[in-house]
Symmetry: C2
């Protein structure tokens, strides 16, 4: 065995690895790297390696088995102390392409917004006491003034089940034994979020955690679907997203309920007003950003119209017509159409094939373009209806795939996504908390990336998961792979704008602004003094 | 939207699904199905569907979240009560291609074999009592007669640390407070196996469970690496494998230690005698089967020579030469060569590139063929040394890949495996207990199958996992996929023979015998009366 033979093998090996990675989108553009980008990438990889042993290999109070990319709800307190996370909060993230509006605002903020509204009332199915509190959910609703009640508080033994109590009063009169007003807040927040005990112990299967997950929306909808709160909620979502480096959003709004509650406490605000308010807030935020000299940080937000897969195919026809009407009135605000809910238990796309084909036909007749941006394959199933949704999503020409967790099982579908440029909206933390994967190292994301399919990292329901913004999702992806570095995160951020529904001009502008911020960001990272600042 | 449009869509959809599945090996041969095979497959799918709700959707004592394909160590007691499992125990499994001999025999049987040998002694690093028992491992060794000691038993407070005590005496004198002889047995068995608490709680990461896993081999080696036990161990492995429907085995034997302990208690039995004994037992089992009129159930067993990735590249040259010498003396018994141990922490293949290339060159000179059958990619890493082992395994022309858990991340390597017919030895239960996947629905197996790569299901270390035979692994795979049915299991069993190292003639014979048994088996399954016999 000569040295020559070894050298020859090493050369063959390097070429082989390159060949295996050739489909990757970052690989295809690898010639374009600036020296400063390469340096920044190196710095990030060094910090990651240092923190892998200094932080993730040690012992932590309350964490039995720390490792990079571990269960988010357990790791959160550790993550926020890392240098890596602090750097990522400053990264320009591009577009947020997959998030459900109802679950995008910190639950503490929502609580404060609600407490400002005297119309908001709360009820429970039983008086709340030490025995019932853990298993009873608060239900919220705006009431007209003439229905405001003067009954007993929720923790009063004389409370009549399902009686509406003013939220403020319920909070103020919440029994001291249950923590008083703070106890009320904790109870509400527990109903709006998933905690580690639920995700990793009591509800540790896809089926069970979805039950808890769904219940958080049942709780929040009574607060958010109220005209005085709605615009403030959207404003908070946009402002905090911008602060996290998100410059554009396509947010899924659930239009299942045909009306929102108005300021008068009556359920009388139609969909067109929801969208009008949305558009108004977007413009106000743009104006605010301009006033602050930060107009480059936000190019706008649009809506993906969604309803839930519980409705009948006949009912869906009402929603698709509704969507068409709204698109005609708000062409710039309606970005696409989707059906949501637990794919494992609700109706598959194929059940809706008639109204969906009809929807496409109607658009053609009317000269409209409302792309499907379907949730599909958010499942562990192999050949189940949820898994098979991927076939229909692609046959129906979906522009992107929401989740596509089971896509990697399908060689033909992977090929189509690569060749036709169908992006996958990957929601790492959501997938983990909803128990499709136990941790990030088990997540199929590297398979999708290595097959050259465009990927955007998305937060899905950050309010429920406590993962506000995109920094946490970017963090979890970064620490779980030796192939992914800062450059690869940057490619995904750039692609998130590229595969948005913005028109060509809008995309060009958004990408140009992103590139400018990216250049500034990588320069800061490249100049980061590792030795000096890494003590945590 | 006309009915015609819907029909057209449905036809397109069916073709699309077929196209996506076209690479599958069972799909390629789907024209060959007999009516009886299709019927048997249907029966199995029906039983699976019934048991999914009657057994896996209910509540069980000690099981918080039952579901099909759940954690094996928790589910085992439920699995063995299912009809599906009982049927699978009767299935002809083909070849067992990935198992480590040291971990193939029920630990209770090993314990009995050891207790028959007065030479076997045991020691511990401290006297065993209620405080030390859980954290102290027994260590076994055969001693020469003149070294038999008369010292205190292990639980005697006067026991001197690391003193060798006769195993029988240690057992008989084991303190009644610790359960007496039964307590001794429990202690030894706990050291030889992984229990659910370890896998799913105290050692619930790949790193930690590998520490426990490795320790089981440290314990068992002192019992197995003893000439009077060795052939009986092999016999037990073969006989129980045959009873589980395995008709041929290629078993990995660890040749790291250069000698075995002889009947005289001295470490003086060289590798050639290990193999000689192995061959002798294989022939005896064949003869026994013939006497019982069951000669069609067993065609033989061969050895994959392995050593551990802790040795230096220079040391490896001794082993490759040793392997060559053994292949020359036992051409029919040496089937291939492998390097084993935790890929995440031990040396990667590339570190051994010089001796491995030299090994190939030496074989060419000598006219030998000892295929590499490498463990590679048994990891959650993405771009780590363990993941990168896949590149070297394939560049070095590995005949099959052991585990290949991370193979699915590599599009080029997947293509090569499909096109060149490199089989993946998938070990479902091993992967789950060693924490690469949390349950079978999370396992990447469907990706491998859908990409048309040949797969053999393997048990790896059934003695450590309590998953004797292959029925448990087949069961876990069957219940975790709607695509996989009996036909697909049959295809994998057939392929296990096809991709063995048997010569053409040997394969033809083995496959013909398997086909005969398969036909009989599917007939029995097809005639299974579901309604009558499904009450569990």
């Amino acid at each position: 065995m000569s040295l020559n033979d070894i050298a020859e093998y090493q050369a063959k090996r390097a070429a082989f690895i390159n060949e295996d990675r050739a489909l990757r989108r970052d690989y295809a553009r690898s010639a374009n790297r600036s020296a400063i980008e390469l340096e920044a990438d190196k710095v990030i990889r060094q910090i990651r390696a240092i923190e892998a042993s200094s932080i993730w290999d040690g012992e932590h109070e309350n964490i039995q088995h720390p490792f990079p990319g571990m269960e988010f709800l357990t790791a959160r307190e550790v993550i926020i102390k890392t240098k890596l996370f602090k750097i990522l909060t400053k990264m320009p993230k591009g577009a947020l392409l997959h998030a459900h509006l109802d679950a995008t605002v910190n639950v503490n903020v929502l609580l404060q917004l609600a407490l400002q509204q005297p119309a908001i009332h709360v009820c429970a199915s039983t008086p709340i006491n030490a025995t019932t509190i853990a298993s009873t959910l608060p239900k919220f609703k705006a009431l007209p003034k003439n229905q405001f009640s003067g009954g007993a508080g929720l923790t009063d033994p004389s409370y009549v089940a399902n009686d509406w109590v003013s939220m403020r009063k319920a909070r103020e009169t919440f029994s001291p034994e249950l923590g008083g007003p703070q106890g009320f807040d904790n109870w509400v927040i527990a109903a709006l979020t998933i905690n580690p005990n639920e995700a990793y112990k009591t509800h540790n299967t896809v089926t069970k955690i979805w039950q808890k997950f769904t219940s958080t929306f049942m709780t929040s909808t009574g607060l958010i679907r109220f005209a005085p709160i709605w615009p403030e909620y959207i404003r908070e979502f946009l402002v905090t997203s911008i602060d996290d480096g998100i410059s554009y959003a396509e947010v899924r709004i659930n239009f299942l309920f045909k009306h929102m509650f108005g300021a008068d406490g009556n359920e009388n605000v139609p969909h067109r007003e929801w969208i009008e308010m949305f558009g108004k807030v977007v413009n106000e935020v743009k104006d605010d950003m301009k006033k602050k000299g930060r107009e480059d940080e936000f190019v706008g937000a649009r809506i993906i119209y969604t309803t839930i897969r519980i409705i009948s195919p006949e009912e869906l026809e009402w929603y698709t017509e509704d969507c068409i009407t709204l698109k005609q009135e708000f062409p710039d605000l309606i970005a696409g159409f989707d059906l949501v809910g637990d794919e494992n238990v609700l109706k598959p796309l194929i059940d809706y094939i008639k109204p969906l084909l009809l929807f496409q036909q109607r658009q053609k007749e009317l000269g409209l373009d409302i792309p499907f941006i379907f949730h599909a394959g958010e499942t562990l199933g192999d050949g189940t209806k949820a898994d098979n949704n991927l076939y229909d999503a692609l046959l129906l020409g979906t522009k992107r795939i929401g989740h596509g967790f089971s896509l990697v099982k399908h060689p033909k579908l992977m090929q189509i996504c690569r060749e036709k440029g169908v992006m996958v909206e990957v929601c790492p933390i959501s997938n983990e908390i909803l128990r499709l994967t136990s941790s990030m190292p088990m997540h199929p994301l590297p398979i999708v990336i290595n097959n050259g399919i465009p990927v955007a990292l998305c937060s899905d329901d950050p309010a429920v998961f406590g993962s506000m913004g995109l920094s946490f999702d970017f963090f979890q992806v970064l620490v779980a792979s030796e192939v992914t570095g800062l450059i690869q995160l940057g490619e995904m951020a750039r692609d998130s704008i590229q595969y948005s529904t913005l028109d060509i001009e809008g995309k060009q502008r958004a990408i140009a602004l992103w590139e400018k911020r990216w250049a500034k960001f990588v320069e800061e990272v490249a100049n980061f003094d590792i030795s000096d600042k890494l003590a945590v």
